[in-house]
Symmetry: C2
Subunit: 568 residues, 2 copies
């Protein structure tokens, strides 16, 4: 099949593969909803209107037809599964295209990791496009498994699945003219450049935008989003598992400005994807809160396609891929059928057809720690310590100063004041680096939790009441080659293997979700009250989000952008 066949079907000279009759088309280009037949041939829409015959014809009985949804920015790794299973989670929700930044695996495995994601996306009925990870590592205050400079990214500039440069998280570096950042920006000058600049404003923000950045998904307040939109950034409103920005930002959206607004998920865990959905969830909330369905659908499809220059996506029109949704109700936006490239891939919330078989790819081991030698003891060098203060439902933290609990010259966890020991163990190069600190908010009264998911360096994070539990949890993860573990003394009470780079499982997403639920339940038994302590822990090492964070090199004061001592 080729363009010649599509033209013949478009002219009506040969029957089309499929004609969807009696649908109400949500035409996001003209802004109208009206009845029409939709004609599909060789993966594409080839016609709209009456008088076509199809080899197959489906009567939609007046149901709505909308374009497949597009997630403007997502880290698939956060779903804890690889692209084929991620696709099975989001396709039944109507997401047919996702713009990904594989910077989690890139921090662990570099280009090899990005190539793994591209390989795993082949033959998957989800369109996965990639933004080349721009900040690996995020800063020099951490140790990662890989380092990507401009020359490393050069082969990606013209890759057919690469659209541009991913979130420029080193936002002070960009605004200050850091040479490495400018080299990467110059390399992708003619492509799309994504931003990440939480709380940035005024002149520094103007400098950041002047550098060529085109989007921002870190807005949390209306004032912040308004300023960024006015400066020309396309605002990706984000609704992740921990970063829930949709409701606060809904008042931003107007008929006049919405073409510069898109929707994205950034990071969502398996249970969220399965139970609540993805971009479809955002559409339901937005529409329920009063956003016009046409505007909401555009933000979830057409606007994103235009922003990224994806000419064949985002609308149901001739020449575009037949990625479309059949919906009984536009307000309760739940796709009854999901077509991708003209094939029915999901129906009534479930995938159609069997799982494909993924080709085996041998990735190298990514957990390189001498487990026997781990020493988490903290010699008291003072009486008062900096403590990371978690804030419910946020990835930013407080920086607190507390009295240390000192016994025999060593600082220990203090369960009465909920100040627990926190260690970040370098796991890529067996360097022996361990960052040590204390954290407040996890509430464990016994044991320890640990994991190799720790944005974005993905060293091994462990929080515990005692060093024995902490070491045991780490050892369990080493045995699994990466993952999450919970230990109480020498007993490992729960574990979730994530053998792909210590970030992902290749098991079905439903199985991963069950194991993950068990991990959360086990933590709850030890005293943690968070809805998900593992995802909170995973952001406690991300030194590009304020205020106090811990890397394998030590505590980072993000606002000062430097390493600081534990003891004040």
């Amino acid at each position: 099949m080729s363009i010649v066949d599509r033209l013949a079907a478009a002219r009506g000279d040969t029957p089309a593969d499929l004609v969807l009759r009696n649908g109400q088309l949500v035409n996001v280009i003209s802004g109208e909803i009206y009845p029409t037949d939709i004609v599909i041939h060789d993966r594409h829409v080839v016609g709209l209107g009456a008088g076509y015959a199809g080899q197959r014809e489906v009567d939609l009985a007046g149901k709505y037809v909308a374009p497949g949804l597009i997630d403007a920015h997502a880290h698939i790794e956060s779903s804890l599964v690889t692209p084929p299973e991620f696709a099975r989670a989001v396709l039944p929700h109507g997401v047919t295209t996702v713009i990904t930044d594989p910077h989690e695996i890139a921090n662990v495995l570099g280009l090899e990791g990005m190539r793994f994601m591209l390989e795993r996306a082949k033959n998957v009925p989800l369109n996965m496009y990639v933004m080349a990870s721009s900040c690996v590592p995020a800063t020099d205050m951490e140790t990662t498994g890989a380092r990507l400079e401009a020359e490393d990214l050069a082969p990606l500039v013209d890759h057919p699945w690469v659209l541009g440069l991913a979130e420029l998280m080193n936002y002070p570096g960009v605004a200050l003219g850091d040479e490495g950042m400018l080299d990467k920006i110059a390399l992708f000058e003619h492509r799309v450049l994504d931003g990440h600049a939480p709380d940035m404003s005024g002149k520094m923000l103007s400098a950041y935008v002047t550098a060529g950045v085109q989007s921002e998904h870190e807005c949390t307040t209306l004032a912040e989003a308004r300023e960024k939109l006015r400066l020309g950034l396309t605002v990706f409103i984000r609704e992740g598992t921990t970063t829930r920005n949709l409701k606060p930002l809904l008042p931003l959206i107007t008929a006049e400005n919405h073409s510069a607004i898109c929707f994205c998920t950034d990071d969502r865990i398996p249970a969220d994807l399965i139970d609540h959905g993805s971009i479809d969830y955002m559409l339901r909330i937005a529409i329920a809160e009063g956003v016009d369905p046409m505007i909401a659908i555009r933000m979830g499809s057409y606007n994103t396609a235009r922003h990224f220059g994806l000419k064949k996506y985002g609308a149901v029109a001739p020449g575009k891929y037949a990625d479309l949704l059949v919906l009984p109700d536009l307000r309760d936006f739940r796709p009854e059928q999901v077509y991708r490239g003209g094939e029915l891939v999901a129906q009534n919330g479930a995938m159609v057809g069997e799982r494909g078989v993924s080709r085996r790819i041998d990735l190298r081991s990514t957990v390189n720690i001498g487990a026997g030698k781990l020493d988490f003891s903290i010699k008291a060098k003072g009486e008062r310590i900096r403590v990371i203060g978690t804030i419910p439902d946020q990835v930013v933290t407080d920086q607190r100063v507390e009295w240390a609990k000192i016994v025999d010259g060593f600082a220990l966890s203090d369960i009465e004041r909920d100040i627990l020991k926190f260690a970040m163990v370098e796991r890529h190069r067996a360097s022996g680096n361990i960052g040590l600190g204390f954290i407040k908010g996890f509430g464990l009264r016994r044991g320890a939790i640990a994991g190799t998911v720790a944005h974005d360096h993905h060293n091994l994070a462990v929080i515990g009441v005692d060093d024995v539990s902490m070491r045991r949890a780490v050892a369990a993860i080493v045995e699994m080659g990466g993952g999450l573990a919970l230990a109480d003394g020498e007993a490992v009470l729960a574990r979730l293997p994530l053998p792909v780079a210590g970030l992902m499982s290749e098991l079905p997403i439903e199985a991963v979700r069950d194991q993950y639920d068990e991990m959360i339940a086990a933590a709850r038994k030890l005293g943690n009250q968070m809805s998900d302590p593992y995802i909170v822990m995973s952001f406690m090492g991300l030194e590009v989000i304020p205020k106090l964070k811990l890397t394998d090199l030590g505590l980072v004061d993000v606002e000062q952008f430097k390493l600081v001592d534990l003891f004040v």
Copy 2:
């Protein structure tokens, strides 16, 4: 100066080149108008907001600041001058960027002609982008000076000033899957593809769009424009000298669909550009007719930049070129100042600064006719003839059948019934081809008019009462190496030399306009009542616009898409 300097100015660390204070910014991205300072450094906007210092500061005293206008589709050759003079005509009207299709000169001189236009656009304070001419020749029913196949266009695909493939005028060919057209489309698959499909609708139109075409500027009726917009074509509303589509199409524009609508001029003669303007004229009309100024401005700037992927154009925001207009009044849209790349280039309707000196470029002679041998006699082969019927203010024609005036066995012009002889003389290859026919509507009672501007093959068109006048007018054009001429018997009464490809003069546009006015006045004296007989004549050979046209190979029935006999 580099990005490093721009970032320093954006941060406020160094003073900016220029700060425009107290302006009312028309922010086409956020859809708001609000007071702000605009900070310009090294050709770019680098900041919006207070607190910046500039080496120069200008108080705008509350005037509006809007982005420089963008013409979505223009043939500069139709201004009868080369890019430097075209720029001097449109810049004072606020047009800072023009997307051109140089297919007039390309039909005469091929790639050499396109390179001439690119060369002439250098160092001109107008941003000129090029769409690679897709239909040279338009069809096989004409003789042109050059022929551009896909392999000829290949070097243009990645040219920094080339945005895509120009209007695909062979619309039946595209829809029917003509191999040469599909080769060109495949070549520019990842770039922008402009359309041209007058009156096309239904399945054939679906096929045309399915082929990858993205825009259309030939809509003349509301119903036509609505159908094309719904099928996903960006509608360029056109207001040319002869093709005045703006008012009929204004009802198309809504708040919901306007992001898929742009403005263009296509072909405008010098007097129109000088007296009435360009895209600014369209904005004034649209706003006067009730279109919201924000929407009108977007259609004249932002929407066009987005359609063509011109990231650094179409809005006043950091990182974009400082192409902007200062306006005392948004409704009577007349720019008081025009900045291009941060430089003041026009003020109060006139250019600032002297004309630049254009480098001499030796183009080959393009009028190759053995003038002595011209024979316009038409032996009567029947009694009734096909006659081209002009229609006021249209480039389409009627196909009429009339009794021939036959004297001594030859068909002659009949001034009583206004049926005049019309010849199309091949002028590129001295082939001796002469297409002969008759045309109604020019009203000459004596003499002949002739010109080497004859879309798109640009052979030498001549319409006259007698063969002597016709031969003399042609001879005058041969002497000039191209241009327009009017003769009465052996006397040449008016002439306009167009030595550049027989299409353009390198004189100042004001001088060309004066000569052109004299040409029109001279025709009026001979009986022509049209506002501009030369531009009407120039479209009478364009065999891709219905119904009956004349090329050097003979009469073309456009709807049948074939050559037909003069005698019925």
